[in-house]
């Protein structure tokens, strides 16, 4: 009976997760179809989404993984040594992708140099506004300056829609997004126990919601997901627990997760990358000047490796590994990434200090290297299982 009850709640929760994924997919189509409202795309996690909502525009992060065809379309404009994410962003515009084509304007807070150049290329397809993002995250001058830049962003949105963005509405959106970030963090933390009730791939599906859904809809849907997941009695057992650390695992870039979770039965329990939990570890002050609050809040989020000091990001990564008691870390960055490809040593030695095995993978969006990727990941899982003293029974065939 206990098992049956567990299965029912489990299935209800999984059904709810699928509904959430569908909600996110539908939202994209509805953005394409929407008439009469301005549509805005943004590139970097340092873009205050509160302002997009306060301005009443439809919005989405440009975070899709391109197919090899899309990537090569992007390469028309770049050298070969740009990351596949950059090439994808350009490629979708070059290929007249209906979703990317529907934006009236794209905003880019100057994230990495590569993405900055990409946004300049994108300008030939759609109006782009480049905004400054200071690198020295703790400097007061940087914070003052970032506040000014955020106000520029707000004013520009007002010009785009023809209506001034109201401070009161900004404050309201800050509260909504604080709630959304807190929910995503709490849901992620459900994975801290020995058996994570939600897989890494499922969690990233929820993170997609943060990039595609409007704030209120997002909060509502996440609250439902949380209720469902908290209702599941946690099964016994402890699968292999892994952390993914690195640059970005964009929407659709699921090759690694697929091999790790579906083929090898491991679980990714925490992801420290720019489409993972990083944005959910900050809270924007709800009182006082909302623009100062946004400037501080966003600079206080778990930092991208382009920020200074680098140690802040490394320390955060190390802290997550401990909190989520992982057995190993897959450090993955996109080929040619000037931020993560170069700072890998600092991250890797932080994990080594914790005696955690690390698999380093430089990845791209091609599909031809599946075999080599699988061999590497499989061998890593073998090493981890042997460290744990047991070889998982899932590996036995006909046993």
């Amino acid at each position: 009976m206990a098992n049956e009850a567990r299965d029912t709640t489990w299935q209800a929760a999984k059904l709810n997760l699928r509904e959430f994924a569908k909600l996110v997919d539908d939202e994209q189509q509805s953005l394409i179809d929407a008439k009469g409202t301005k549509k805005v795309g943004y590139i970097c996690n340092y873009t205050p989404v509160e302002l997009l909502n306060a301005a009443g525009v439809r919005h989405s992060r440009l975070v899709k993984t391109g197919s090899p065809k899309t990537v090569s379309a992007g390469e028309l404009y770049t050298q070969s040594v740009f990351c596949d994410f950059t090439k994808s962003c350009i490629g979708f515009f070059q290929e007249d992708d209906p979703f990317y084509k529907s934006f009236d304007k794209v905003y880019n807070f100057h994230s990495c140099s590569t993405m900055k150049r990409a946004s300049e290329v994108i300008e030939q397809f759609v109006p782009v506004k480049l905004l400054n993002l200071p690198k020295l995250r703790s400097s007061q001058d940087a914070r003052n300056f970032f506040r000014e830049e955020i106000i520029n962003f707000k004013d520009d949105l007002g010009e785009l829609t023809g209506t001034r963005v109201q401070d009161e509405e900004v404050r309201r959106q800050i509260t909504i997004y604080n709630r959304a970030r807190a929910l995503l963090k709490q849901i992620s933390e459900l994975r801290k126990g020995p058996y994570p009730v939600i897989s890494g791939a499922e969690f990233l599906d929820l993170v997609r919601g943060y990039y595609y859904l409007p704030g209120e809809k997002l909060v509502q849907a996440l609250e439902q997901v949380q209720r469902h997941l908290e209702g599941i009695p946690v099964p016994p057992g402890r699968p292999l627990r892994l952390m993914i650390s690195g640059s970005i695992m964009a929407d659709g870039d699921r090759r690694l997760l697929n091999i790790l979770e579906n083929e090898l039965g491991a679980r990714v329990v925490i992801e420290d990358h720019c489409a993972g939990v990083r944005p959910f570890y900050h809270r924007v002050a709800e009182a006082g000047d909302p623009y100062r609050a946004l400037a501080n809040g966003y600079l206080d989020q778990a930092p991208c490796a382009r920020m200074k000091p680098l140690e802040d990001g490394v320390t955060f990564s190390g802290k997550l590994a401990r909190e989520y008691s992982v057995d190993g870390v897959v450090y993955v960055y996109l080929k040619f990434c000037a931020c993560y490809g170069v700072s890998k040593k600092e991250f890797i030695s932080e994990f080594q200090k914790q005696d955690l095995p690390i698999l380093e993978i430089s990845s791209d969006y091609s599909e031809s290297d599946y075999g080599q990727l699988k061999t590497r990941i499989e061998a890593f899982v073998e090493v981890l299982n042997e460290r744990g003293g047991t070889i998982s029974h899932e590996q036995y065939v006909n046993a």
Binding site: I232, P235, P236, E360, E378, A379, V383, E386, A399
Partner: protein
Amino acid sequence: MKHQAKDIINEGAWKFTTTVPVVGLDIGSRGSKAILLHGDDVFTVLLPTGLYMQETADELLNKLLQTSGLERSDIAAVVGTGYGRISLKYDDIPYRVVTEISCHAMGAHAVIPKTRTIIDIGGQDSKAIKVDRATGKVVEFVMNDKCAAGTGRFLEKAAAILGIDLRDLGEIALKSEKPAQVSSQCAVFAESEVISLRARGARENLQEISADIAAGVHTSTARRVHNLLGRVGIEPDIVFTGGVSNNVGMWKVLEEEIGAKFTPAKLDLIFAGALGAAIHAWKFFASTHEVKRTKKHVAKHETREEARLPNGE
């Protein structure tokens, strides 16, 4: 071929005497290797990999049965490894998959118990592996990127352009007095580099030019492999495994490049992966038979089963 375990081990006692026949299959991108362990007998077979991996594997198994005089039903367990490991299927024999990284580590450890570092250069990839001396388990490994430079495939390409049999390439390279500079990091570009080097050579000294180019190709491959090694460290005993370990030129150039000597083995280490796989098959057999005997293991098994249950969708 039939060997005695004591004849293929460098020193010390052989730890892997089996009570039942077990098989390791290493289906590589170019060559397929198989080993059958039975008591203290070690049977080896080597074939080029065919288009259909299962056919190649069946042929290997049949040859092993022929040379050992055993029946298919005698085989207690098979472990598959290498590039083609995923495409194999056996309905009548317990079968398990282990990556070639773990298998090379175990295989090298079995014949050279002091193995600490392995360089494995195969047909389409190369790996540096750090091994635990006590157990033969992998401590750390690095594999080349999806790129043919630094692999056997690169040497094969070069041999084809030079019109030399791959098996002679190493010997010919050793004759060079001034190795050509093949600087490219990319096998495709390196190929055009080799073609243009060759085009520059005069007709009368073609042999000399070929040797210089062959040597240059070896040096460039060695440099890539050295880079990999740098990431896991170079501690003795260093063992060279994989198909390319039979290339005398590569052996010498790599030793010079890393500034250390490889420990020679008594078994052709193209079989390192297959031997490791066979040992894993033996361990697999032993562990599954323990599972049935000891209560503790049964309990652990059930927990795992249960843990998997809700995810059955």
